[in-house]
Assembly symmetry: C3
Homo-oligomer: 140 residues x 3
Amino acid sequence: MKSYREELWFSTPERRGYLNITGQVEAALARSGIQEGMILVNAMHITASVYINDDEPGLLSDFDAFLEQLAPFDPSPQRYRHNRTGEDNGDAHLKRQVMGREVVVAVTDGRLDFGPWEQIFYAEFDGRRRKRVLVKIIGD
Amino acid sequence: MKSYREELWFSTPERRGYLNITGQVEAALARSGIQEGMILVNAMHITASVYINDDEPGLLSDFDAFLEQLAPFDPSPQRYRHNRTGEDNGDAHLKRQVMGREVVVAVTDGRLDFGPWEQIFYAEFDGRRRKRVLVKIIGD
Amino acid sequence: MKSYREELWFSTPERRGYLNITGQVEAALARSGIQEGMILVNAMHITASVYINDDEPGLLSDFDAFLEQLAPFDPSPQRYRHNRTGEDNGDAHLKRQVMGREVVVAVTDGRLDFGPWEQIFYAEFDGRRRKRVLVKIIGD
């Protein structure tokens, strides 16, 4: 069994952002040389998500509105107890749970084994600083 | 390391549907001959989910009501920006994120290593056409 | 390829609880002797979650309030059809879907390959009895 590890770094200019990282993951897979196996792509931070969905600007806006309705940004210590610690990102921890931490994708014939519209996104909910995504691949 | 790949195809008669696919996944596992490893089961479409929970009709109805409350079906371009592209399935993309894209299950002694009530479901949120689920198994 | 399997048992004194199980997962990984691969940690019950986030008491309280707002505990048969079966835990099945069943973590150099604040939690939504988490590790 072979294994491969790579970190991807991102910094979004706004607090929240949605980045299509499929090309970077495909490049890591090519560097690994692995033909058959599984690839794990996960946020290494707890206020960000990695998820798979469509790359359509209206949809990204719908995701953002949906998450903001479920867990609105509110830096005050009233709404989120987490913000009583001096943090202002209680909402970001909740948004990340809804969207998920990680995806696992099949590797077949050296490629991401995807349906027609699947794209991997990094979703940032507390940005404006450098944060990491882990790519780990195992297989042959 | 061995690997095995199979696609399962589904078409639900209604827009939304919840199908217990545990038997089909077990059959794929048996065909693989893999005894120890991991199995990935994922929707290959971005308006459907694969999840694990109980097979009880009242619960399936509760899931559907819960998702419809969180992200109601609305084909108009007002509620979901995604529907300004001519699509009518903005709600389905949101429902899929809440329920998840994939499950990873341990394979032990050639079987799905499950607790007493775990069942694998395909949840369709934009049906009435043929769509796919990927089963990928790696191990020995 | 090597594989390793272990069950962890938990019983929370209240209906809901959030337990940091990172140390127990690390101990299982050490016992496995696996240096490179992937580790799956999943609830074996369908009214509990395994998730990764921060170990901060205010945040745990925020998660609990968020989930209780989305799917309030209500043992009556009115709100949740699942409770018409004689169960009282319809809310717990919904809460578990939002928080997820499982996490997959990279194993690198014999350790959980984590960012600075990642901790593994067992979230119980229908406790006061012994329930299980599965740890399955594959790799070399």
